[in-house]
C-alpha cells in the first residue's frame, strides 16, 4: 500500500543535499589537500606503535586519490539519490584519509599513524560518552528529558575521587560515584516529575549547580590536602590473554579495565533489558504514551522515578572514569562538555543503547584524531583541532540523522485526568 501511495518526491532530497555537500568536500580535499600534501609517504602502522607492519601511501597521491573517492561518492548520491548511509560513510572516510595523507606527509615529527593506538584512543575517549548517553537513554525512554548528563558525570567524578580516598578503597569510591550521580538525578526527578518544572531548565540548572558545588569543595577541601581527599588510586588493568594481541582492535577492546569492560556490558545489559523484559516494555510504554500505560494499571510516575535514578547511577559510574582512570584525581570542570556530547550521542544513536554506543565511538574517534594531529605537530592550530569533536557533533546531530523520532512523551510531565 505504501508503495502505491508514495508521493512524487521533491528533487532535493536529504540524500541529494548531503551529496552536494560531499561533492564540495571532495573537491576541497582533491584540490587543496592534494596541493598542500608533501611527497613523503604517509604510513599507517597496524600496531600500537609506529614500528611494525603497515602500509605506505605517497602523500600527494593519497590526498588526491581519497579526495576523488569522496567526490565520487558525493556525485553518486546526487545522481542516484539513494544509498544515503553507505555513500555518506565512504565520502567522509575519503575526506578524512585525504586530510590525513596531507597532514602526515608534511609533518616535521612523524609520517606514521599507529592504527592500533588510534583505535584504543577512540574507545578510551568514548567510554564516558557511552555511560553518559546510556544514562540519557534510560531517562528519556521513560519520558524524562535528561540534559543533566554533564552534571551527573561531574558529580560521579567528584564523589568517586572523594570517597575513594576517604575510605581508602577504590571500589567503594566507584560505588560512591554511582550514588553521587543518582543523587543529582533525584533532584531532577523530583522537580521534573513531581513539580512539573520544565525539564530542560532543571537539567541546565543542575549542570551549573554540580559545576559550582564540586568546584567549591575542590578548592576548599581537596586542593589544600590532596593526599587526604583527592588520591583515589588508579584503576587496575585487566588484559584478556590472547584476545588482546589481535591487531588494531585487540588493545582497544581487550586490554581494559572496569570502565571499558563495564561500558560494553552496560550496553548489552541495557539493550536486553529495554527490549526483552517486562520492565523495558513498561518503560518504553511510559515514555511513548503514559496515559495508555496508566489505563492498564502501570504506575507511570513510579517507573519514571526509578528510571531517572537508574540513569544517574549509570552516568555517575561513568563519571568516575574522569577522576579514577589515572592517579591525577579530581579537578574542577574536568568533564568539560563530555556530558553534552553524550547527549548528542544519545540523539545520534536514536535513543537506542547500541546506537548510542556507536555514536559515542564516532565522537571518540574525532577526539582521538585531534590528539594524534596534535602529536604530529599539525600546522592546523590546536584550538581549531580541539573544535573537531564539537563540529562533528553539530553535523551529526543536525545533518546526518535526518528524521529521528524521540519517545513521543519525552519531556512531557504526566498529569492524570
Amino acid at each position: 500500500m505504501d508503495v502505491e501511495l508514495a508521493v512524487p518526491e521533491a528533487y532535493w532530497t536529504r540524500t541529494r543535499k548531503t551529496g552536494a555537500v560531499m561533492v564540495v568536500l571532495g573537491l576541497l580535499a582533491t584540490i587543496v589537500f592534494g596541493a598542500l600534501a608533501g611527497s613523503e609517504n604517509a604510513r599507517f602502522a597496524l600496531g600500537e606503535t609506529v614500528d611494525g607492519a603497515g602500509f605506505d601511501i605517497p602523500g600527494t597521491f593519497g590526498a588526491i586519490f581519497f579526495g576523488l573517492v569522496a567526490l565520487a561518492a558525493g556525485v553518486a548520491m546526487l545522481v542516484t539519490g539513494r544509498y544515503f548511509g553507505v555513500l555518506t560513510g565512504v565520502a567522509l572516510m575519503g575526506f578524512i584519509i585525504s586530510a590525513l595523507c596531507w597532514q602526515m606527509s608534511v609533518s616535521p615529527v612523524s609520517h606514521t599513524m599507529p592504527l592500533g593506538f588510534i583505535a584504543a584512543a577512540t574507545f578510551t575517549a568514548a567510554i564516558p560518552l557511552i555511560f553518559g548517553s546510556l544514562g540519557g537513554v534510560l531517562c528519556e525512554r521513560s519520558g524524562v528529558v535528561n540534559v543533566a548528563i554533564e552534571g551527573q558525570l561531574l558529580t560521579g567524578a567528584f564523589f568517586g575521587a572523594l570517597f575513594g580516598t576517604l575510605t581508602g578503597n577504590f571500589w567503594l569510591g566507584l560505588v560512591a560515584a554511582a550514588v553521587g550521580g543518582a543523587l543529582l538525578s533525584a533532584i531532577l526527578a523530583v522537580f521534573a516529575i513531581k513539580y512539573l518544572v520544565d525539564q530542560v531548565v532543571v537539567g541546565i540548572v543542575l549542570n551549573v549547580f554540580a559545576g559550582g558545588l564540586t568546584a567549591f569543595f575542590y578548592e576548599q577541601v581537596m586542593r589544600p590536602d590532596t593526599d587526604a581527599y583527592n588520591f583515589p588510586g588508579k584503576v587496575p588493568s585487566w588484559p584478556v590473554p590472547v584476545l588482546s594481541e589481535i591487531p588494531i582492535i585487540g588493545p582497544a577492546l581487550f586490554n581494559g579495565n572496569i570502565f571499558s569492560y563495564g561500558s560494553l556490558i552496560a550496553v548489552v545489559v541495557i539493550t536486553i533489558a529495554l527490549f526483552r523484559t517486562r520492565w523495558g516494555l513498561r518503560t518504553r510504554a511510559v515514555g511513548e504514551h503514559p496515559a495508555a500505560a496508566d489505563t492498564v494499571g502501570i504506575r507511570v510516575l513510579g517507573l519514571r522515578y526509578a528510571n531517572v535514578l537508574l540513569a544517574g547511577l549509570v552516568a555517575g559510574f561513568g563519571g568516575a572514569y574522569f577522576s579514577m582512570l589515572s592517579t591525577t584525581g579530581f579537578s574542577k570542570y574536568m568533564v568539560s562538555g563530555a556530558g553534552f556530547i553524550a547527549l548528542a550521542a544519545m540523539i545520534f544513536g536514536r535513543w537506542h543503547p547500541v546506537g548510542a554506543f556507536f555514536a559515542s565511538l564516532f565522537f571518540g574517534f574525532f577526539g582521538a584524531l585531534t590528539g594524534f594531529l596534535n602529536s604530529i605537530s599539525s600546522p592546523i592550530p590546536s584550538q581549531f583541532l580541539s573544535m573537531l569533536p564539537y563540529l562533528a557533533t553539530i553535523f551529526a546531530v543536525a545533518g546526518l540523522v535526518g528524521r529521528v523520532r524521540a519517545p513521543a512523551a519525552d519531556g512531557k510531565p504526566y498529569v492524570k485526568g
Binding site: 512524487p8 518504553r284 511513548e288 492524570k416
Partner: protein, 480 residues
C-alpha cells in the same frame, strides 16, 4: 466513566459491583473487579505491536523476560473466540482506525472483564465499520458480557441497546426504551427541540471561485494523502466534503491555504493560480479559514479575545499604525464583534482560552468573517461546540453563501455536511469518489464514505483488491 475505570476519584457516592461496594483507586483496581474500558482516544502505544499493546501491564514473563510467543498465542485465542481477527505482530500506527479499536476491545477481553465500557467508539468509524462494531457488541452480549455503550448517535443506541440512559450536564435526565421515537431521545439529550435542518434558500451558484485540479499533497509521513483531487466551488454555493476523518481532508484544506505544499496539480482563486502562495497572501486575497482544530490553530489561547479578533489584520489600518497598534480601534472592533456574534465572555480582555469551546469557535468565525470574503473554508466548524452555537455558526455560514461567497465546508459529521451543503463531495483515501446532491440516501453516502461507489459496477480495481487483501491476511492469521 473515568471514575468507574479509576482514572478519576469520586467526591461522593459509591460504586457497587455485583451488589458489593468497591473502591476503585486506579485502572488496576477496575480491571480486578472486572471492568474494562475502550477509550474515545485510543490508549494504544503507536510504535508498539498489537501483541505488545495487548499484553502491556499483564505481560506473560519468565523471570522478568517477556514470553512473546505466549502473548501472541493469547491474542490469537481471544481474537478467535470472539471473532475479532488481528495480526499480533502488526504495528499499531500502520493499522486503520477500525482495527485499532478492535485491538482495544481485545485488550480489554484478554483481561477477563465482565463489564466493557465503550466511550464514543463510533465517532471515528465509517457507517460500515460502525455496523460491524454493533455486530461485535451483540456477539459479546451473547457471550455473557455486559456493555456500557456511550454515544450521541441515536440510530446506534436504538440499534443495539437493551436499555437507554440519557445523561446531560452530569445528571441522569431520563431513561428510555430502545423503541422510543428518536425525537423523544433527542429532546431528552439537548433539553429542547432541536432544529435538525439549517433553514436556507435554494442556492444561486455563480462564477467558479475555487478551482482545484489534479492536486496531490503528502502527509507528514510522506504518504499520498491527497491523490489527484479536482473540485470547483462556485460563488453563492456551499460545497460540503464528507468523509471519515483521515482521508485527506485535512491535507487538502491545508494545501489550498498554503500551509502544506502541493506536490502536483493546481489551485486557482477566481481564475488566478494561487498554488504556491503564502498563507497570508491567500487570506488577504479574500479567503476566510476556520481551521479544524482550534486548540492547535486559529487562536492564541493566552491572548485576549480582542487580540484574537485581529490576529490576521493587526498590521493593517485601522488596527496597525506605522509603529504601534491602535488599541482603541482594536477595542472597538472587539465590542462590535462580541455583540454581533454573541460571544459569551466576561470582557474583551479575557484570555480566549478561558472561553467555552463554542465561544472560542465564534471568535474564530467572527474574525474570519470580518473582512469581505470571496471564499470561506470551514473545517469541522462545529466540533466540540454546544447546540446553540452550532445553530448560530451554521446560520452565519449560510448567510455568507447568500451574500455571494463560495463556501467549502469539511466535516466528518455527515449530518452537518448534509444540512449545510448544496453539493456533497465524498472523499476516500485522498480522492473525491463522487459529488452528489445532499438529498442522496444515507446508505449511499455511507457506502461512498467506505470507498464503495454503488452507482458504478466497475469499481476502481486496484483499491478494491487492496482492501480485500488486507481482510484476507487478517483472517489467515487468525486461523493459523
Amino acid at each position: 466513566m473515568n471514575v468507574l475505570y479509576g482514572l478519576l476519584q469520586p467526591d461522593e457516592g459509591e460504586i457497587l459491583v455485583d451488589g458489593a461496594p468497591v473502591r476503585i483507586k486506579g485502572p488496576g483496581d477496575a480491571i480486578k473487579v472486572g471492568i474494562g474500558m475502550v477509550h474515545q482516544h485510543f490508549m494504544l502505544v503507536p510504535v508498539f505491536s498489537v501483541a505488545e499493546n495487548i499484553m502491556l501491564g499483564a505481560e506473560p514473563a519468565r523471570g522478568g523476560f517477556i514470553d512473546h510467543a505466549k502473548a501472541v498465542k493469547l491474542v490469537r485465542e481471544v481474537s478467535q473466540r470472539y471473532g475479532l481477527p488481528l495480526n499480533p505482530d502488526a504495528i499499531i500506527e500502520d493499522l486503520p482506525i477500525g482495527i485499532q479499536q478492535r485491538v482495544e476491545i481485545v485488550k480489554a477481553l484478554t483481561r477477563d472483564v465482565d463489564l466493557l465500557i465503550l466511550d464514543e467508539p463510533t465517532a471515528v468509524l465509517t457507517p460500515q465499520e460502525t455496523d460491524e462494531l454493533l455486530e461485535v457488541m451483540r456477539g459479546l452480549k451473547a457471550a455473557g458480557k455486559s456493555i456500557v455503550f456511550i454515544t450521541h448517535k441515536l440510530r446506534e443506541v436504538k440499534a443495539v441497546a437493551d436499555r437507554i440512559t440519557v445523561i446531560r450536564r452530569g445528571r441522569t435526565v431520563g431513561t428510555a426504551d430502545p423503541t422510543a421515537p428518536e425525537t423523544e431521545l433527542a429532546e431528552l439529550m439537548v433539553g429542547r427541540s432541536v432544529v435538525l435542518e439549517v433553514p436556507k434558500e435554494e442556492a444561486v451558484p455563480g462564477e467558479p471561485v475555487l478551482e482545484v485540479s489534479g492536486l496531490v499533497v503528502a502527509d507528514d509521513r510522506e504518504h499520498r494523502a491527497v491523490d489527484g483531487v479536482d473540485l470547483v466551488v462556485r460563488a453563492g454555493e456551499v460545497l460540503g466534503i464528507a468523509g471519515v476523518q483521515g482521508n485527506g481532508q485535512t491535507e487538502l484544506v491545508e494545501s489550498i491555504m498554503g500551509l502544506r505544499p502541493a506536490r502536483a496539480g493546481e489551485v486557482k482563486l477566481s481564475g488566478k493560480p494561487i498554488t504556491t502562495w503564502h498563507t497570508r497572501e491567500v487570506l488577504r486575497a479574500g479567503v476566510g479559514y476556520v481551521p479544524e482544530d482550534r486548540s492547535v490553530d486559529g487562536l492564541v489561547k493566552e491572548f485576549s479575545v480582542a487580540e484574537n479578533l485581529v490576529l490576521d489584520l493587526y498590521d493593517l489600518p485601522p488596527f496597525g499604525g506605522r509603529f504601534a497598534l491602535n488599541l482603541d480601534a482594536i477595542a472597538a472592533q472587539a465590542e462590535q464583534k462580541i455583540a454581533e456574534f454573541d460571544v459569551r465572555t466576561q470582557s474583551a480582555q479575557q484570555p480566549v482560552g478561558a472561553l467555552s469551546g463554542g465561544n472560542q469557535q465564534k471568535v474564530i468565525v467572527a474574525r474570519e468573517m470580518s473582512h469581505p470574503l470571496k471564499l470561506l473554508i470551514a473545517s469541522q466548524p462545529t466540533r466540540g461546540v454546544d447546540v446553540g452555537s452550532i445553530e448560530f455558526i451554521h446560520s452565519r455560514i449560510v448567510a455568507e453563501r447568500d451574500r455571494g461567497a463560495a463556501v467549502l465546508v469539511v466535516s466528518s459529521e455527515l449530518d452537518e455536511v448534509v444540512a449545510l451543503a448544496d453539493r456533497v463531495a465524498v472523499m476516500y483515501r485522498g480522492r473525491v469518489l463522487a459529488v452528489v446532491s445532499p438529498d442522496t440516501p444515507r446508505e449511499t453516502l455511507g457506502l461512498l464514505m467506505a470507498g464503495i461507489d454503488p452507482s458504478s459496477s466497475s469499481h476502481t480495481p486496484g483499491r478494491e483488491q487492496d482492501t480485500r487483501g488486507e481482510g484476507m491476511s487478517e483472517h489467515g492469521e487468525a486461523a493459523s
